[in-house]
């Protein structure tokens, strides 16, 4: 069959990004032709401002050099403007007569600067600010002319004004609204911005509308006249009063437009063969003017062009930054507030600091930061995730650092760090490496940085810092990693969608799951397979087939792999209680198998470190103890204190409660590891406050706390409810854990799950609705009933091959070869 032909009109950021995404998904699927009206390969339009300001050169901002088009077999028509689409015969025609037939057409024609329809707009020296030619015109003008007027005090206008000023011109910005960046800032922040730009030498005329541009005899611009009659001299006028989607071509071809080329959630226009992405497109009534949403569109569009047909574009929340070096401002979402919204404002005009947060229904919906924007990414993430603020309200305005971060996610640090400072402690990646990769390889997202540098790809505690570095490098071009991202590169489906499909379509085997959900790879990858395995097992207990090959080695071998390839063995020691005979057996085993280290763990039990894999089964047999599951996304320990049995303060028998819970939960698999603790009084010696479920005994019963975490980022558990009897402790704990098992995404600890759904939701399902609680508890018991202890199973002979190496003697010389064949 002949390759279908794809024609792209518009060689800009959105069109080419779509091709890049497409080539990743389905290389070689299309015969691709690109038309670009500009005579240059695709460049980073965003960085025109640094070019104007003299901070970068054109070469620095080229995204796809000509060789990229050649390497990918793309026919490129540079400097050729498409003037007609012949939809009946499916071809496009360029001004110079070049033609190309298409089976699919992608329109990515961007925007045009809005030129005010006033007298004098066509004079020489009146320009828009859109492309490299405009930029060069400005640079040339600045060499010989003195006075510039920029019409428009938005992002583009201010960046143009700043650049012209840095190139030595006297610049006045004329702005219709009462404060600068009225679409990004509230009046207070706008005034602060104006003051600092004035201090640098810019002049402003606010609340001012332009009525005409006055020319001289030579037809060049000479002055600008305002509606109040004032006139100021000007040698250059830059119109930055807005942009208009460039739809003329589509409109002329009869494709439905409405302030932009109208597209559906798959970026398809009313003509199903024709797609549109970028600033020219209008999606659900919105035409975007920033790249982050355009890149999201590109991804979805590519998915449909590749005929996977599963991406959906739902629109984007955008955030902005002004790229004027030395001025930090950030805004996102509904930053104006008003109309029933609550506002938290921190203002220190003396220090040039301002911070406003807008809250509706206990959720952050907007933020406007001036002066210190280091928390911008963090607020933006919360706006997008829509997480409830709850008790964090008090400290929210102070930013992420005030939230008890114990890891290395510090925000302000990014800018202050030297290139050689380490960002990712796990992979030893320093700041310079990340900055270099971002610049040289054109990375835009945290995921891309992960892939290319490995930073933040292990424990993830430095993700905040990486985001911050990205933001510093990219400005508003920065794309936050969406919470709703695909599980991995094998699919576009999110964890939520996968869980749902497994539940609704009763998927119980890997083959079934990959076929049904149209996985791109035959058998997944090391990221998705363990997740799918868990989802099937937890959704369809006793029915889904556990696949050892889809488990990480620790869970496959039921021991923890060590750096030298040996394993550690941690037997169960319920509630941290042991006996002399058990200790004796442990000691004997340690000697018999020459265990390198015997260590007391942080989880109140004993670790035998350095066991050879082939000895594991024998070690377990000789120990005669159950698996402690110290290796799994599973129940780990239930830590206890001595409690009322011995302690003079103990109010209840916490040790026994812990042992009962650990007995009940034996062999339980979960989205991530689960740790419990039971303390006998509020002195809390078992550290219940940082456990997934922490029980604290009080005189009148037991308090249950959930969602604590003592790991990468310390999270204090939150109070769920108080109950009276041990039986209730088990029921409530079991119900909560079952809810977590059924609904959390793989590798989310309880704290992450609760952050997503909200504690109120948990209370409703577990505390308030008694029927639901009992149903959850019963489902847990059903899933756990009869689950074998994995060590006992293996001592009895299961999975023997896993532990036995293959062996051949010392390699025989060819003369003793067992078979001699002719290699073909």
């Amino acid at each position: 069959m002949k390759q279908p032909r794809l024609v792209v009109v518009g060689n800009g950021m959105a069109g080419i990004r779509t091709l890049e995404e497409l080539l990743k998904l389905a290389p070689g699927m299309y015969d691709i032709t690109v038309f670009g009206a500009e005579p240059y390969p695709n460049y980073n339009r965003i960085l025109l401002s640094p070019v104007l300001a003299g901070e970068q050169d054109f070469d620095d901002i080229v995204l796809n050099p000509l060789s990229w088009y050649a390497d990918n077999g793309i026919t490129l028509h540079l400097g050729k403007q498409v003037t007609r689409i012949d939809r009946a015969r499916r071809r496009v025609l360029a001004a110079d007569g070049t033609e190309a037939g298409y089976d699919r057409l992608l329109l990515a024609t961007g925007s045009l600067p809005f030129i005010l329809p006033i007298p004098g707009k066509d004079l020489k020296g009146v320009i828009g600010y859109r492309d490299i030619d405009d930029t060069r015109t400005m640079i040339e003008a600045a060499k010989v002319k003195r006075r510039a007027v920029v019409i428009g005090g938005g992002l583009l206008g201010l960046e143009a004004a700043n650049g012209l000023m840095l190139r030595g011109m006297e610049v006045t910005v004329v702005h219709l609204a009462g404060w600068l960046l009225e679409r990004q800032l509230d009046p207070v922040a706008g005034a602060m911005l104006q003051a600092s730009l004035e201090a640098r030498g810019l002049q402003f005329r606010l609340d001012t509308s332009t009525s005409a541009i006055v020319g001289n005899e030579a037809g060049e611009v000479a002055a600008v006249r305002f509606s109040n009659g004032d006139e100021i001299p000007a040698d250059l006028v830059v119109m930055a009063a807005g942009i208009r989607p460039n739809t003329a071509l589509a409109q002329e071809a009869g494709i439905h437009c409405n302030r932009g080329i109208v597209v559906n959630d798959s970026l398809q226009t009313y003509d199903p063969r024709v797609y549109a992405v970028g600033e020219c497109a209008s999606h659900r009534g919105v035409a975007y003017g920033l790249v982050a949403p355009l890149f999201e569109q590109a991804k979805v569009c590519a998915n449909h062009l590749a005929t996977f047909g599963i991406g959906i574009y739902r629109g984007s929340t955008v955030s902005t930054k002004l790229k004027v070096t030395g001025i930090d401002l950030f805004s996102a979402g509904d930053f104006m507030g008003g109309d029933g919204a609550e506002e938290i404002v921190l203002s220190d005009p003396g220090a040039g600091l301002y911070r406003k947060l807008v809250i509706r229904d206990d959720r952050l919906v907007g933020a406007c930061l001036y002066g210190d924007t280091s928390d911008g990414a963090w607020y933006f993430k919360q706006i997008k995730d829509g997480t409830a603020i709850g008790e964090r309200r008090d400290t929210l305005a102070f930013g992420e650092l005030a939230m008890g971060e114990s890891g290395t996610a510090g925000q302000d640090r990014a800018a202050a760090m030297a290139d050689a400072d380490e960002v990712c402690g796990c992979n030893g990646v320093c700041k310079g490496t990340i900055v270099k990769a971002v610049r040289e390889q054109g990375l835009f997202t945290v995921d891309e940085v992960k892939k290319h540098t490995k930073a933040a790809s292990s424990c993830g505690s430095c993700t905040g810092l990486v985001e911050q570095i990205l933001m510093n490098c990219l400005g508003s071009n920065f794309q936050e990693t969406p919470k709703t991202k695909a599980i991995c590169g094998c699919t576009d489906r999110t964890h939520g969608e996968v869980r749902q499909a497994i539940r609704e379509h009763r998927l119980v085997s890997h083959a079934q799951a990959y076929a049904f959900m149209e996985w791109r790879t035959p058998n997944g990858c090391a990221t998705c397979r363990p997740a799918i395995n868990y989802y099937m097992l937890s959704t369809w207990p006793r029915e889904a087939i556990d696949d050892p090959q889809s488990r990480f080695i620790n869970e496959r071998a039921h021991a923890n792999i060590q750096k030298d390839g040996t394993f550690s063995v941690v037997p169960q020691m319920k509630g941290g209680v042991t006996s002399p005979s058990e200790l004796r057996r442990i000691a004997d085993v340690a000697e018999k198998y020459k265990v390198r280290m015997v260590k007391v763990t942080g989880g109140q039990r004993i670790d035998l470190l350095g066991v050879k894999k082939e000895d594991l089964v024998d070690v377990w047999r000789d120990l005669g103890m159950k698996s402690g599951h110290a290796y799994g996304k599973s129940i780990r320990t239930v830590k206890t204190c001595v409690g009322s049995e011995f302690c003079r303060f103990g109010t209840q028998d916490s040790t026994r409660m812990g042992i009962e819970l650990e007995t009940m939960l034996a062999n339980m698999w979960s989205p991530h590891k689960v740790k419990l603790a039971v303390s006998g009084c509020p002195r809390n010696c078992a550290e219940s406050g940082i456990k997934d479920v922490g029980i604290i005994a009080v005189d009148s019963g037991w308090e249950i706390h959930v969602g604590g975490n003592g790991g990468i980022r310390t999270e204090v558990a939150r109070f769920l409810c108080k109950v009276r009897t041990p039986e209730e402790v088990k029921e409530y704990t079991g119900a909560f854990l079952q809810l977590y098992r059924e609904e959390a995404y793989y590798l989310d600890r309880t704290v992450h799950y609760i952050e997503r759904v909200g504690l109120d939701y948990i209370r409703r399902k577990v505390v308030e609705d008694a029927d639901n609680r009992r149903a959850l508890y019963e489902r847990l018991l059903f899933a756990l009933e009869g689950l074998p202890d994995p060590w006992a199973e293996r001592v009895a002979g299961a999975q023997a091959r896993e532990y036995a190496p293959l062996a051949v003697g010392p390699a025989a010389p060819p003369a003793r070869a067992i078979a001699v064949t002719l290699e073909d």
Partner: protein, 127 residues
């Protein structure tokens, strides 16, 4: 080019789990990991990750790669090369599947580099 080689039977293919691996212990040489990414395909690599020597035989096999259990490098089974962005190579051993059995090149096993010219060079030992 045809050349004579000698092959050593290691095991029946069924002894290696599909999408899994077995390790071949050798008294006098590096362990070898035998991978079976599909029912009828088998690859052999030194059981040493080019990163920090992790035992590749313990990793998750998917597609034509194995993910090292220690720090998650992905290694291509056919070439032993690490996938981008990582750089490194695990030594590759010629291996054949015949009549349901797995055969390893004896020359390569015996370290006869000249005969195993197609095998990738052994990685530098990492400390």
């Amino acid at each position: 080019m045809d050349r004579i080689d000698a092959w050593l039977r290691v095991c029946a293919i069924e002894e290696i789990p599909v999408l899994g691996a077995r390790v071949l212990r050798r008294g006098d040489g590096d362990d070898i990991a035998l991978f079976r990414p599909a029912p009828d395909r088998v690859f052999a690599l030194a059981d040493r990750c080019p990163h920090k020597g992790g035992p590749l035989s313990q990793g998750i096999v998917a597609g034509d790669t194995v993910t090292c259990p220690l720090h998650g490098w992905n290694i291509q089974l056919d070439s032993g090369q690490a996938c981008a962005p990582d750089v490194g190579c695990a030594r590759r051993y010629p291996v054949q599947l015949r009549d349901g059995h797995v055969w390893l090149s004896l020359f390569a096993l015996a370290g006869e580099e000249a005969h195993a010219a197609s095998a990738a060079p052994a990685p530098e030992a990492t400390a």
